[in-house]
């Protein structure tokens, strides 16, 4: 590591809960997606879980909302360097969806996909045990389109590119298969605490 001449840095208090290499975005919520923001109405949104499951199932907006509600309150971390503290997402825990479909014992990984064709891969274990949500509200209001509304996946303990916007479904697999950014050189798992940004980290 090179010390940069004359660089002192501005944010001197490193906040507890800030993973290495991240900065606190404060009130900002930058938008980083490589696609055109889709005009997706709640009535046109659906969520399907299939692949290595007993009973593949598709939920409409109303059916998904009929599941028991659950919220995430905490921090999120984007691979581009910002973190956002104390965010509040409302929706349904992914466990509720998975208990309906019944994952096979052979299922180890998941490919999540969006209504726009974006994909991200995740170990199944990162989506269970109350650690992942399908979220449609942010801070008490509807989730904005540019942030993935009407509904997105939330996996807050991994870098946020895994939290697929405009989420359309999950396919359970018995192997890992790179998604969109993983195929573009990003890390397979993306744990912010281990700075798993790019392939090989």
């Amino acid at each position: 590591m090179n010390v940069t001449r004359g660089f002192t840095g501005r944010r001197r208090v490193s906040r507890p809960g800030l993973p290495p290499g991240q900065y606190d975005a404060g009130d900002d919520w930058p938008v980083l997606s490589a696609e055109v923001t889709p005009d997706l109405a709640p009535a046109d949104w659906s969520f399907r879980v299939d692949g290595l499951v007993e009973r593949p199932h598709t939920w409409s907006w109303d059916e998904a909302h009929a599941l028991p509600g659950s919220a995430y309150e905490g921090d999120i971390h984007c691979v581009t360097g910002w973190s956002k503290f104390g965010v509040r997402f409302g929706g349904v825990s992914l466990d509720a969806f998975l208990s309906v479909v019944g994952p096979h014992v052979s299922a180890t990984h998941v490919l999540a996909r969006s209504h726009t064709g974006y994909t991200a891969n995740l170990p199944l274990a990162d989506l269970t045990g109350g650690r992942a949500w399908i979220a449609w509200s942010y801070d008490g209001g509807p989730l904005a389109q540019e942030h993935g509304g009407p509904a997105r996946l939330i996996v807050p303990h991994l870098y946020f590119w895994k939290s697929v916007k405009w989420v359309a479904g999950l396919t359970l697999l018995d192997h890992d298969e790179p998604g969109f950014w993983e195929g573009n050189g990003y890390h397979e798992r993306g744990n912010p605490w281990q700075e798993q940004r790019y392939r090989g980290d």
Partner: protein, 239 residues
């Protein structure tokens, strides 16, 4: 979502030392920083890198920057940084950096917003969003490519248009605050985009949009409204 371009396997997992060799003023608010990176693996126009500054007490700041220069074998790359008011990293570059300074970089990153020069390209940028697009324009020129390339850029004023002296017939500039005599002032609009889409080359355009999120939303909607297929629009948002 458009298909991806394969990234080289020697992805930038490792940090390397870059030495600043030259600083060039582009506008009152933007400068170009030329870096010697002897082990640079090469890049495709449109790719970016991650840059890291380290303070004496170990405090680290890292940011992403697009690569402005065309791929060449000089062992140098160029970045163009906007001076963000109160910016931690851009502030250091604009007020402290001088030739001989060393910084850490890793890259190139992401094969998605990259243009190898294979398909007709329609480039829309605003402010420092012109940086990765200029790498494409420079590549097109350096290689003497004949594949169609058109660029539409937005700047506040002619003085703030980055690379203004280097832009040619492929570029149309739109000014939002003040413009040369006879040129209307205003936002990029359907009237700017429609003629470019009407020029539709065989196979159609691959569109590249780069800038702030607000600009990216606006420009990508203009493209869609003018008939550009959604799955042939690639967007790089600076945040």
């Amino acid at each position: 979502m458009p298909g991806r371009i394969a990234v080289s396997e020697q992805v930038a997992a490792t940090w390397q030392t870059a030495t600043l060799t030259e600083v060039r003023r582009e506008t009152p608010y933007a400068s170009t920083f030329r870096l010697a990176v002897p082990r640079w693996a090469g890049h495709l126009p449109g790719q970016h890198l991650m840059l890291r500054l380290t303070a004496e007490d170990g405090y680290v700041a890292q940011r992403h920057y697009s690569i402005a220069s065309a791929p060449d074998d000089s062992g140098h790359i160029e970045l163009t940084l906007d001076r963000v008011p109160d910016g931690e990293v851009s502030g250091w570059f604009h007020t402290v950096a001088r030739p001989g300074d060393t910084i850490d970089v890793r890259g190139p990153l992401s094969g998605f917003f990259a243009w190898p020069g294979d398909r007709p390209a329609l480039l829309l940028g605003a402010g420092s969003g012109i940086v990765p697009l200029m790498s494409m324009v420079r590549h097109h020129r350096a290689r003497g490519l004949s594949v169609p390339l058109r660029m539409l850029v937005s700047a506040r004023s002619p003085e703030e248009l980055i690379y203004s002296g280097e832009l040619g017939a492929e570029t149309t500039a739109v000014f939002t605050r003040s413009a040369p005599a006879g040129v209307p002032v205003g936002r990029m609009s359907a009237t700017h985009v429609a003629p470019l889409l009407a020029e539709r080359p065989p196979g159609g355009w691959e569109a590249y949009v780069c800038g702030s999120n607000g600009f990216a939303e606006h420009a990508s909607r203009l493209l869609v409204a003018a008939g550009q297929p959604v799955d042939r629009i690639r967007i790089e948002r600076f945040g």
